[in-house]
Symmetry: C2
Subunit: 199 residues, 2 copies
DNA sequence: GTCTATACGCCGATAGAC
DNA sequence: GTCTATCGGCGTATAGAC
């Protein structure tokens, strides 16, 4: 089916929706869910107040829709548990890449996780798969005596902490030249593997 | 000492202030600054709405006062840069202990850091000393060729991530028996040292 | 589909009685 | 020092014109 032609605009509808999504993403990132008002979003997006409810059905639904782009990413990830060490390395590198490319959404997610927000129920498919994959990988690593840790849970948290903080932090005026995502990914995988390795 | 009996109350003033502080701490932790209303705090503390303004001068000042107990802790920390490896180990262990004993405040702090909130300006003396200490320690370690990293900034973030996530996370139903803070502190120091060590 | 105007509730802060 | 009552403002959501 071709475009509906001449009418007012080509895809004005989609355009407005995406403008709202863009504004919402940056605002939620820097002010949090409760710190961001629909008014601010619409002002930033340069559209009228009513359009968030019209296009998304309200602030909360807009919030959830923000995460649609990364829902697939995490769902489609696969790791070969037969080679746990390689799987761990692969997990770390892919996570860091995603940490960089989806910085804002993962920041928002971290805020929500930290306060155990009531919105998490609608976001489990966004964040749980990663935690589960990592846990399975580390479980396998431990069984093969590749790593050493008091409990798999603890190792999961340590690794996740490492990977979550792999990106530059806004509140530090980081001086020198920034690493590339790929460099950081390699270093992260190294750091994790060495850190968990049996002495 | 028996109860002071008949006078109005012994330290009702202090008692009310502390009740408000307690309620504020738990609410800010689980709902964030903007997600928590003064009304909720007062209801939870079982005092009337006006008392937050009366005793603290408003919501924001109450928020800042929450952190007073840990301001000293971080300011008074000292590390001997002459023995960087020992300093790093000490830093990790002390941070993890604090992470456990001041779980709620550090959670709140993390939320604020993550969204680079405008309130951070009044909290620099709470969180900056730790980041600075860690950076100095890692700088020293790197100069002595004890550790290896693409940049000190990156190492700082990795270590902080590890330590921040050293505590149990509310959104994971963590199965097995929890580690003690001391066990976790030891493991964290090990993980960090091994992770950063030259191969 | 997009706008303006408005409904209605909760927000933080304070005035004034006790 | 603590309460209740209330202020002005901003929150989300929607009705109705275009």
């Amino acid at each position: 089916m071709a475009k509906p032609q001449t009418p007012p605009e080509p895809d004005k509808n989609k355009e407005v929706k995406e403008q709202i999504l863009r504004a919402a993403k940056t605002l939620f990132t820097t002010r949090g869910y409760d710190g961001t008002s629909v008014r601010q979003i619409c002002e930033e997006a340069d559209v009228s107040l009513a359009l968030v409810s019209y296009h998304f059905g309200g602030k909360e639904k807009l919030f959830y829709e923000l995460f649609n782009p990364i829902r697939e990413i995490f769902r489609n990830q696969q790791f070969d548990l037969a080679d746990p060490e390689k799987a761990l390395k692969q997990f770390c590198m892919e996570f860091v890449r995603n940490r960089y490319s989806e910085n804002e959404l993962i920041n928002i997610l971290q805020q929500e996780l930290l306060m155990n927000s009531p919105r998490l129920d609608m976001l489990t498919d966004v964040f749980l798969p990663s935690w589960d994959h990592l846990r399975q990988i580390l479980q396998a690593c431990k069984q093969c005596d590749i790593i050493e840790c008091p409990s798999v849970d603890t190792a999961v948290r340590f690794v996740m902490g490492t990977l979550m903080y792999s990106i530059q932090l806004p509140f530090l005026n980081q001086s020198g030249p920034a690493q590339t995502p790929e460099e950081t990914a390699r270093f992260a995988a190294d750091y994790v593997l060495k850190g968990l390795s049996r002495r």
